[in-house]
């Protein structure tokens, strides 16, 4: 099991329990009382640790190498996913996967960032950091979804758009801007869920919709904590402090009025049980897709506009958006 630093006490106790258990099987000594006591203590310890995670703990959780990716959730969430490729202009970006599927019988379009699950796959998928053709593929399929009246589900999981020469030459800025612009006007329901890291414009290019959800231990930020620390204090090692100052966790974004709802995670993080996590996502998604489908497209777009129009922090109430 790959454990994180802050989980060490839990791990230690688990090991101790396992030790005692194996001891009882090999000898005649009865330790069941002891074990029961320790298991009770373990439960309490887990409660303490997982209920008081710091922003930095959540950053570690969101970046966990075994954290489920878009392709890990898709088979549990949808029936018959059919992946579709290419932007029809330049190429196919493996950092974004997209396709059509059935969701509780309803045809939907599913789009998500895709990290690699090992080094080789990560190189092929540029660590889940898309190029312009990735965003253009996503937009092409969103337009297709609009044509055929399919709801769109976006799974967000990227450190950000790929910072490279070719990406700039092919219009990284324009591709991101275009997706934001077009998503604001799509005549079908769009539900966005941050499943891991939501990094900057690269995340937002799949992130404009009618509802925004975040998994409990996911993050969403304008810049990585390391980047913020380097920029603000000229010291990337202050990332932990930046994670706290920048307000990037799901509860932070809920408090800022950006996120509609937090989707709870499996105890100890989504990576403990992807299937169970998918069920927790499904619970929220099912209801919201059904309710969004009853709203007239014009009204949907109007509400979407109002949703974004009201986001912002001002010195006083009068500075806030007027009706």
């Amino acid at each position: 099991m790959t454990g994180l630093e802050f989980e060490k006490p839990v791990r230690d106790l688990q090991e101790k329990i396992a030790e005692l258990k194996s001891f009882t099987t090999t000898t005649d000594v009865d330790l069941s009382d002891e074990i029961a006591k320790l298991e009770l203590r373990l439960k309490k310890l887990e409660d303490d640790i997982y209920n008081s995670m710091t922003p930095w703990d959540r950053v570690q959780m969101a970046r966990h190498p075994n954290r489920p990716t878009t392709l890990d959730y898709i088979p549990h969430l949808f029936e018959d996913f059919f992946e579709l490729h290419g932007d029809r202009t330049y190429g196919d970006d493996a950092a974004i996967v997209a396709g059509i599927a059935k969701y509780h019988g309803t045809p939907v379009t599913v789009i998500g960032h895709q990290r690699g699950r090992d080094t080789k796959e990560n190189i092929q998928r540029t660590f889940g950091m898309p190029h312009p053709e990735g965003y253009r593929k996503a937009l092409r399929l969103m337009k297709q979804a609009e044509k055929f009246n399919r709801p769109i589900i976006c799974l967000i999981d990227t450190k950000g758009a790929y910072p490279g020469k070719a990406a700039e030459e092919r219009g990284q800025s324009e591709a991101i801007a275009r997706n934001i612009f077009e998503m604001a006007g799509l005549q079908v329901p769009i539900v966005c869920i941050v499943i891991g890291e939501g990094g900057s414009g690269g995340a937002l290019a799949l992130g404009v919709g009618d509802r925004l959800f975040m998994l409990e231990n996911s993050t969403y930020s304008v810049i990585s904590p390391e980047g913020a620390a380097a920029l603000l204090w000229k010291d990337a090692s202050l990332a932990k402090r930046a994670a706290e100052t920048m307000k990037i966790t799901a509860p932070d974004l809920r408090a800022l009025g950006i996120v509609d709802e937090i989707i709870p995670e499996v105890r100890g993080g989504a990576h403990r049980d992807a299937k169970h996590q998918a069920a927790l996502i499904d619970e929220v998604l099912k209801t919201v897709i059904a309710s969004l489908q009853t709203i007239h497209p014009d009204e949907l777009i109007e509400q979407r506009y109002e949703k974004y129009k009201k986001i912002g922090g001002y010195a006083d109430e009068t500075a806030g958006p007027k009706g």
Partner: protein, 291 residues
């Protein structure tokens, strides 16, 4: 010391150090009567430079302009009516020292934020103008910049007139975190509304237009233009060099480079800007637009 050492190269070298001013001092000619071009080093009268719209008389280098100088250079005299000049920046994340920094820039620039918005006309044709100013917090976009743009776009919708934006920004404002990021969505959604109603959108990117600003409203014009030499791009040069481990060409992410890559409609010299905009406004008034 041997006699021949007296003629060694060390001595004159020392003298050289003493007489050549530092690189900083060369650039840093005090503001006043004269100015030195940072590119070609030509020395000019400040007055002359101003008259030439802050473009170097020698090499055509485009200096940064304040928002009000820009408006003065473009609009019919006395036609400008400013919007939302009273909105004031908050500190939603309670970021240390943020209020002080904003207050200092307000004092320095006389603006409430990094953008001036309002209604004005060019050759009698009205448009909504949104002019960013890099001298205020590097033109970075926080909640107020996003809100002012969205309101300005709404005004263009209300009055059925074009929306013209001049961008100058280092990107999203770090001190407002993810709220800054969301301004990309807010402004993009506002422009989509205007566009769907047949409204004309013109974007002119000036030096610098990067990060979240280049990846939102700056790139969403029906026409996307830039001033010569402007730095325009999404990711920073240093970050890209670290990622790809190779040196980037000198003209990387300049307006000219982007034009070559097919990312811009045209690069327009500042002295032609007013005429070109006037031409476009005329084209769009003589028919063809959805009403």
């Amino acid at each position: 010391m041997a006699i021949k050492d007296m003629f060694s190269k060390q001595k004159p070298k020392k003298k050289k150090y003493a007489t050549i001013p530092s690189e900083a001092a060369k650039q840093d000619v005090p503001e006043g009567i004269m100015q030195k071009c940072p590119k070609c080093k030509k020395i000019m009268y400040t007055k002359e430079l101003k008259k030439n719209l802050h473009v170097c008389l020698g090499c055509g280098y485009h200096y940064q302009m304040t928002a009000y100088e820009r408006l003065e250079s473009l609009l019919d005299e006395g036609s400008f009516r400013e919007l939302d000049a009273d909105l004031s920046t908050g500190n939603p994340l309670h970021f240390p020292d943020y209020e002080e920094k904003v207050a200092a820039d307000r004092k320095k620039t006389g603006m409430n934020e990094a953008i001036v918005t309002g209604v004005g006309s060019i050759d009698g044709r009205e448009s909504v103008f949104a002019i960013m100013d890099a001298s205020f917090r590097m033109g970075s976009m926080g909640s107020i910049v996003g809100e002012k743009i969205a309101r300005a776009v709404e005004e263009a919708i209300r009055l059925h007139i074009p929306f013209i934006i001049f961008t100058a920004s280092g990107g999203a404002r770090m001190q407002e975190g993810v709220l800054s990021l969301m301004q990309m969505a807010k402004t993009g959604a506002a422009l989509k509304r205007l566009s769907d109603r047949g409204g004309l959108i013109i974007s002119v990117m000036t030096h610098p237009t990067t990060g979240g600003v280049s990846a939102s409203f700056a790139s969403l014009g029906d026409y996307n233009f830039a001033e010569p030499g402007a730095l325009i791009g999404f990711a920073g040069r240093r970050i890209i060099e670290q990622t790809i481990r190779e040196k980037l060409p000198d003209d990387f992410q300049t307006a000219e480079f982007l034009l070559k890559c097919g990312q811009l409609d045209a690069v327009i010299h500042r002295s032609d800007m007013r005429d070109k905009l006037s031409f476009l406004l005329d084209i769009h008034q003589t028919g063809g637009d959805k009403k």
